[in-house]
Amino acid sequence: MAPEYRMMEMMICAASRYLEDGRTVAVGTGAPCAAAMLAQKMNAPNLVILFEAGGVAPTMPQMPISVGDSRTFFRGIMAAGMSEMMSTCCRGLVDYAFLGGAEIDKYGNINSTVVGDFYKPKVRFPGSGGANDFASMCWRTLIMTVHTKSRFVEKVGFLTTPGYLTGPGAREAAGLPPNTGPYKIITDLAVLGFDEETKVMQVESIHPGVERDQVRDATGFDLIMPDFIQTTPPPSDSELRILRGEVDPLRLVIGR
C-alpha cells in the first residue's frame, strides 16, 4: 500500500534525489534546505551544504529561518562570509543551487524583482539577492516552485536571474561560464528539465495523480511534452520517515 503524503513532501523528495553524494549544494531556507538534509540522510551522506551568507556544512538541529542565522553554521565546518561563498561558486566548486521566484519562463529565466514599470512598479519583489549569483556561477540550478499559469510565463516581465536567456548559446555569449544553467524545476505537478537542443523547458515526469493536461493548463507557454512521460516516483516509506522524523519534526516546511 502506497504511503499517503502531502505535495510539499513529494516536491522535497523529488528534489533530494537529484543531489549526488560528495557534491556541494547552496541552499536557502525552507524546502530546498529540507531537500538537501533529506539527501544527506538518504543517498548523499557526503553532500556539503553551503549558505550564501557564509555558513558551511552545519550540523543543523532545526531548520534555519534566515540563510544568515546561527543555524546555518551551528557546529559547522566554517563560518565565513558572502565573498568566500560566492568566490567558491565562481571557482567551480559549487555543484547545485536552489532557487525560487515569482515568474519563470520557458528558458528557465526567473523574475524576482518587479511586475510592471521598473521605476513605478505594480509589485516590487526583493530583487536578486544571491539568486542571480548562484544561477550564474554554480554548475546546476534547481528551482522549486508552485506550478501556475501566472508563474510559468512565455517571457518574464523582468529577467532577474539567468536561465538559458534567449536560448542555445545565449549564456555563453553573455559571458556566463560554460556548461552551467537551470537543471531541474520541481513543481507541485511535475519535474521539468530542458531540451538539450532548444533549451526549452520540457516535462520529465509528472507526479502521481496529476494529469498531462493539468500541467499544460498551468503553464503559460508551449511546454515540450514527450509522448511518453514517466510518473515521478512517490515518496518512499523511508524518505517520509526520515523527512518527518528527522529533517522537519516541527513540520515547519512540510506542514504548510
Partner: protein, 328 residues
C-alpha cells in the same frame, strides 16, 4: 577601455579612488577612546542625505539601536546600500528615511514574507533604485576596501538586473572573457554590530562575517555597537581574532542585545513574534504609525525598547533558544 555594454541606472556614489584616498589621508589613525552614545554617533556621522550601509544580514547581527535612533532623529534622503537588507530596510522605510538605494535584496524578510510598508514605499516610485546582486554589492565594497575603483565578477551578465544597474561589461585583457565591472562604493557611513570591542574600536565577531569586513574597510565613517566591551589586553592576547582594527572606527557604543529583534549568533535568537508583529501592523499605515510611536518614537533609549518587548524574561527566553549553540 572598451565597454561592451552598460547598465542604464544611476551610479549613486563616486568610484574615484583618489577622492577616497584624499578622505582617508586626513582620517586620524590614533588609538583613542572612541566611546560615545548612539544618539551622538547618529548626530555626528549620519547627517541627512548621506549614504548609509548596515552590517550583518537583515535580521542577523544588525545594529538595531542605530536604526531606531536614525528614525528618532528624523533623518531624510539617505542613500542606502541594500544587500540582503530585511529588518534594517523595513525600519528605514517605516521612518521614510531613504530616497535612493543600491538594491539587491529589499522589501523582503526571507522566509517571513514581504514587508507591506517597504513595498508601499518602493512601489510609490519616490525612491531611486539601482539594481545589483548580493555578490555584486560585496565586490563593490571589496573593491573600495582594496582602494581601487572597480572589481569584476561573472554574475549579472545577460539579465535585466544588469540593465537596471550602473555596471559595465568589459573583456579580460588576458583571456578575452567577459566580466561585469562593478564600481567601488565607499559609503559615507556604516553601522555594524559585533560581539566584542575595546574602547578604541578593535572588534571581534563570532560566526559569519557576511560582507562586514569589506564594509568596515570601505566606509568613510564606521559606527560600532557591541554586545560588550573587552579590555585592550583581550584584543592583544589573540590578535588573529581582530577583524576590524581601531583605525577604521569612529565611534563605539556598548549595546547589549543590540541586534534584537534579530539573531545574534552564540548570544540570542531572533524574536520571531516581534518581527511578525511588524509585518502585521504594516498592513495598515495607521496601525504602523501607532506601533512606531510605541516602539521607537516615544522611546528614549534602546534599553527602554528592550523593556517594552519583554525585558529580561524575553531576553532569557531568546538566549535559551540560541543556547543550543556552543559558547566558548
Amino acid at each position: 577601455m572598451k565597454i561592451v555594454e552598460e547598465g542604464c541606472n544611476a551610479l549613486l556614489m563616486d568610484p574615484d579612488p583618489d577622492k577616497a584616498r584624499g578622505f582617508f589621508e586626513k582620517k586620524s589613525r590614533a588609538m583613542t577612546d572612541k566611546r560615545t552614545t548612539v544618539k551622538e554617533a547618529v548626530e555626528k556621522f549620519i547627517p541627512d542625505g548621506c549614504y548609509l550601509a548596515i552590517g550583518g544580514f537583515g535580521a542577523n547581527r544588525i545594529p538595531t539601536s542605530v536604526l531606531h535612533e536614525i528614525l528618532r532623529q528624523r533623518r531624510k534622503n539617505l542613500g542606502f546600500l541594500g544587500h540582503t537588507s530585511t529588518h534594517d530596510f523595513q525600519i528605514l522605510c517605516a521612518g521614510d528615511c531613504i530616497d535612493r538605494v543600491d538594491a539587491s535584496y529589499i522589501v523582503g524578510l526571507e522566509a517571513r514574507g514581504l514587508s507591506p510598508n517597504a513595498r508601499r514605499v518602493m512601489e510609490s516610485g519616490k525612491v531611486k533604485v539601482t539594481e545589483w546582486t548580493n555578490y555584486a554589492l560585496t565586490v563593490r565594497l571589496r573593491a573600495a576596501a582594496e582602494g581601487v575603483s572597480f572589481g569584476i565578477a561573472r554574475c549579472m551578465l545577460g539579465t535585466d538586473t544588469f540593465k537596471m544597474s550602473a555596471a559595465k561589461v568589459i573583456e579580460c585583457p588576458f583571456t578575452g572573457k567577459k566580466y561585469v565591472a562593478l564600481p567601488a562604493v565607499w559609503p559615507d557611513v556604516a553601522a555594524i554590530h559585533v560581539h566584542e570591542a575595546d574602547i578604541y574600536g578593535n572588534c571581534h565577531i563570532r560566526g559569519i562575517s557576511v560582507a562586514d569586513l569589506e564594509l568596515a574597510r570601505a566606509a568613510k565613517h564606521v559606527i560600532i555597537t557591541t554586545e560588550r566591551f573587552v579590555g585592550n589586553h583581550a584584543i592583544r592576547l589573540n590578535p588573529t581574532r581582530t577583524v576590524i582594527p581601531f583605525y577604521l572606527v569612529d565611534a563605539v557604543i556598548e549595546v547589549p542585545y543590540g541586534s534584537y529583534p534579530g539573531n545574534m549568533a552564540y548570544e540570542y535568537f531572533s524574536d520571531e513574534d516581534h518581527l511578525k508583529q511588524w509585518l502585521t501592523v504594516e498592513k495598515d499605515p495607521e496601525e504602523l504609525a501607532k506601533f512606531l510611536d510605541t516602539y521607537i518614537y516615544n522611546v528614549s533609549s534602546f534599553e527602554e525598547y528592550l523593556e517594552l518587548c519583554g525585558g529580561f524574561a524575553k531576553m532569557k527566553e531568546l538566549r535559551n533558544l540560541e543556547g543550543l549553540v556552543d559558547r566558548l
